[in-house]
Amino acid sequence: MDARLRRVNKEIADCKNDKTSNIKIELIDNSPFHLKGSFPGPEGTPYEGGHFEVDIVIPESYPFQPVKMKFITKVYHPNVSSASGAICLDILKDAWSPVLTLKSTLISLQSLLCSPEPNDPQDAEVAKHYTTSKSSFEDTAVYWTQIYAGGPGPKEKKGKSSSAKPDERDEVAIAGLEEAHVNQFASLGFPRSKVIDVLRRLNYRGANVAKITEDRVVEELLK
């Protein structure tokens, strides 16, 4: 039997038998080389309570070349692209070892959620948000977990993120911005979506708000 097929089948079976890790691997179609992995968001992080799905493609030369993984669920994390779900993780690239398995890789992804690496970002805007204001970043990550990964939503104790209404998707909260800031520039007559876009790009958050002049924002808005 093909060594790759044997290995993948065994890995899927192992994962099914293992009830402790909470990691699931399912087939997407009939091919055992295109899979969907999922795991719960790690406790004590903004991703807690969420359910994260990962698209897995097993390359021809697996396990000697790394498996290709990307998030299906949208994740707000410096090392995950907020648009495509692409993941920046060393073991998916040059630090891959043939001994690693789908399960161990998914566990590594789970732990990546616990320990972001903003200095080696996949998504520079998210990383900037993280370094500028960690608490604001976490609020946004919680909100994303809530709306995309079925998480419990922002905790009551935090008043800051009160702008996020649980029922409707709040674009301002998705972008990790303050409602007041958006309103300030929207009131000048710019379309709301454009204001959100520009403020997100400028990283108009935390201490940065004081550094970025209003003129600069307006200049960007006029472009």
Partner: protein, 621 residues
């Protein structure tokens, strides 16, 4: 045509690795120095030893096996100093990018750290049982091989590594050897399951490095194959996660190359493995060449030769020489032909593998140095077409010199940048137009004249650039058409043999002339790049005089070549062409030699900052 000495595998013996590194070889080195003067058809000529012309550089072409021998010399040197086997020495050298001096320094400083960093030994000495030269305590002596019943794989490794002190322990479900560690014994009694492919068939061949991370040999083969072929990786680490131990060459060889006499089990697989092994060796050579500044690979497709040119190894040397070299091979593709086979054939198929040792921009950009040639090409790529368009479609704001295109509307222009208001027709300030708005009748006014002067000044630099560019491009275009010219000339040569009593050898003057024209056009082309950047002065005037003489001679010769052939005037034509060819050759040589000498003497002054040179002392455009 230039001819190279035939290079063969023996060439490597000529080298001494000391010379390689230090560049101390001098007049002894063989050099190509008969570029222009030797007669045609002399394809087997071996170049004389001795000083080459000032515009040429000493270099040597090396085959892959010659480079391998150079590597082996370095490895042997390290073996001798450290007392390690060649596999370890090779790993150490590769880790230190073949910098022997630094390796020796670092190794003497802390041998353990060096060995660990290079992937030779494990970080914790208690885990393995490999004796390395630095670990001499008794607990690490090799267990006697007799206590083991080696599997086939083991014995293969033992045989390969027997000259050295290293050995690779293997574990196999079928072998019941005693190992120094109890844990290991217990493990080896269980059924071995390869942690990668989960194969648990009894009698599975396993292999491991000194770290004892055992995997089945099939997985090792696939792994090494994938690393070598897909990733072009020459440093192959153990497959276990986080294990930094590197596979020595003997280990990789044992995986890929079957023992002599071993039964062929899977012919296709073995062929694949043989290819991987060849590729691995090529990768090692590439790494060695890449780490050594006095070596460069021939850039022609599927050519495996290397050129050694210690004189152009440093960046600073590129300010005084234009290191045009040739690897000695000809033709494109696998069938790199030797000169003897190819000598009679004209055209691109037989072009020699000429390239610049200092830069990748063009094979031969003499006489101009790499830095200026690069600057010029960049400018041309950015500018040439744009410059032409700007020249014909725009004007500059008379206040801030921004380039402005008028794409409609009236003549009342307001510069977007500096808000200067002016008239498009007379270029004077709009304020002076008074009530005569929208009909400019003030062309001769003083302010308008001044504005136009400024305009023409800024245009002058553009004109100047276009002057040089057009001539440069003209020669480049001619060089591109050289192929057609070759074909036409061959036809003419045939006609001549038919219409006159001249023999084949006697019509070769045509071919010689065409080659000369081609070569000189290359020189001329680059003289324009050079002249563009040369600062004004006597030196530049002299340079341009030489350039003009060569240009005239080349154009005369070209004209002669294009002239129709009539039987009665063939002898005169032949005389003329031959004379002119010699003259052109001389002129070309003068340009090349004078320019090269100028670089050595530091005679040339640039009007811009050229990489590696001092800032220009005077700016004159």
């Amino acid at each position: 045509m230039s001819s190279d000495y035939e290079f063969s595998d023996d060439d490597g013996d000529y080298f001494d690795d000391e010379e390689m590194i230090d560049g101390t070889q001098d007049s002894e080195a063989q050099s190509e120095d008969d570029m222009d003067m030797d007669a045609f058809g002399d394809d087997f000529k071996v170049t004389p030893k001795g000083k080459c012309k000032s515009y040429e550089i000493e270099y040597e072409s090396l085959s892959q096996s010659a480079v391998e021998r150079l590597m082996q010399k370095d490895v042997d040197h390290i073996c001798g100093i450290f007392g390690v086997d060649s596999g370890i020495a090779s790993l150490l050298l590769r880790h230190m990018k073949w910098n022997k001096e630094r390796l020796i320094e670092k190794y003497m400083d802390n041998p353990t750290a060096m060995l660990v960093a290079a992937g030779v030994t494990m970080p914790e000495p208690v885990v393995t049982s490999t004796p390395t030269p630095i670990r001499t305590h008794s607990s690490h002596t090799t267990p006697t091989n007799t206590s083991r019943r080696p599997t086939r794989a083991t014995s293969k490794l033992m045989a390969l590594a027997s000259g050295s002190k290293s050995k690779s322990p293997t574990s196999s479900p079928t072998s019941s050897f005693t190992t120094p560690k109890a844990v290991k014994t217990a493990k080896s009694e269980e059924v071995f399951v390869c942690p990668i492919c989960f194969d648990d068939s009894p009698g599975l061949q396993t292999l491991a490095l000194d770290c004892e991370h055992a995997f089945c040999s099939t997985c090792w083969t696939s792994y090494v194959g994938s690393k070598v072929r897909d990733e072009a990786e020459h440093c192959i680490r153990c497959m276990a996660e986080g294990c930094a131990l590197a596979c020595p060459d003997s280990f990789i060889r044992s995986i890929l190359v079957p023992e002599p006499g071993a039964p062929i089990t899977d012919a296709a697989q073995e062929e694949e493995n043989a290819k991987t092994w060849a590729r691995f060796q090529e990768l090692l050579v590439r790494h060695f060449v890449g780490c050594n500044t006095s070596l460069k690979f021939c850039p022609y497709p599927s050519c495996t030769n290397t050129v050694s040119c210690p004189a152009a190894a440093s960046k600073i040397s590129l300010t005084t020489v234009v290191p045009t070299v040739s690897c000695g091979a000809r033709g494109i593709g696998g069938q790199a032909m030797t000169q003897s086979q190819q000598g009679s054939q004209l055209g691109i198929g037989g072009k020699e593998h000429k390239f610049c040792f200092g830069c990748p921009i063009e094979s031969d950009h003499r006489p101009v140095v790499c830095g200026a040639a690069k600057l010029w090409l960049k400018k041309c790529r950015d500018d040439s077409e744009t410059a032409n368009w700007i020249k014909s479609n725009t004007k500059e704001c008379s206040q801030c010199q921004s380039t402005i295109e008028k794409n409609g509307g009236c003549n009342h222009m307001t510069c977007k940048k500096c808000k200067h208001e002016f008239c498009w027709v007379c270029m004077g300030p709009w304020s002076e137009h008074g009530t005569a708005w929208y009909s400019c009748n003030r062309y001769d006014e003083q302010t308008g004249v001044e504005a136009r002067d400024a305009q023409s000044k800024s245009r002058a630099s553009l004109e100047r650039y276009l002057h040089y560019y057009n001539r440069w491009a003209n020669h480049e275009q001619s060089a591109k058409l050289a192929l057609d010219l070759y074909a036409k000339t061959e036809k003419k040569m045939e006609d001549m043999q038919i219409t006159s009593a001249l023999t084949w050898i006697e019509v070769q003057f045509m071919k010689k002339a065409v080659e000369e024209v081609d070569k000189c056009r290359m020189t001329l082309k680059w003289t324009y790049a050079m002249a563009y950047y040369l600062a004004k002065g006597n030196q530049k005037d002299l340079f341009e005089d030489n350039q003009r003489d060569l240009e005239r001679a080349v154009e005369d010769l070209s004209e002669l070549l294009e002239s129709p052939i009539e039987a009665e005037n063939i002898p005169t034509l032949r005389q003329k062409v031959t004379d002119k060819t010699v003259y052109v050759q001389k002129r070309n040589e003068i340009v090349l030699e004078d320019t090269a000498n100028g670089f050595v003497e530091g005679r040339w002054r640039w009007n811009v900052t050229v990489d590696g040179f001092d800032d220009p002392t005077e700016v004159a455009i």
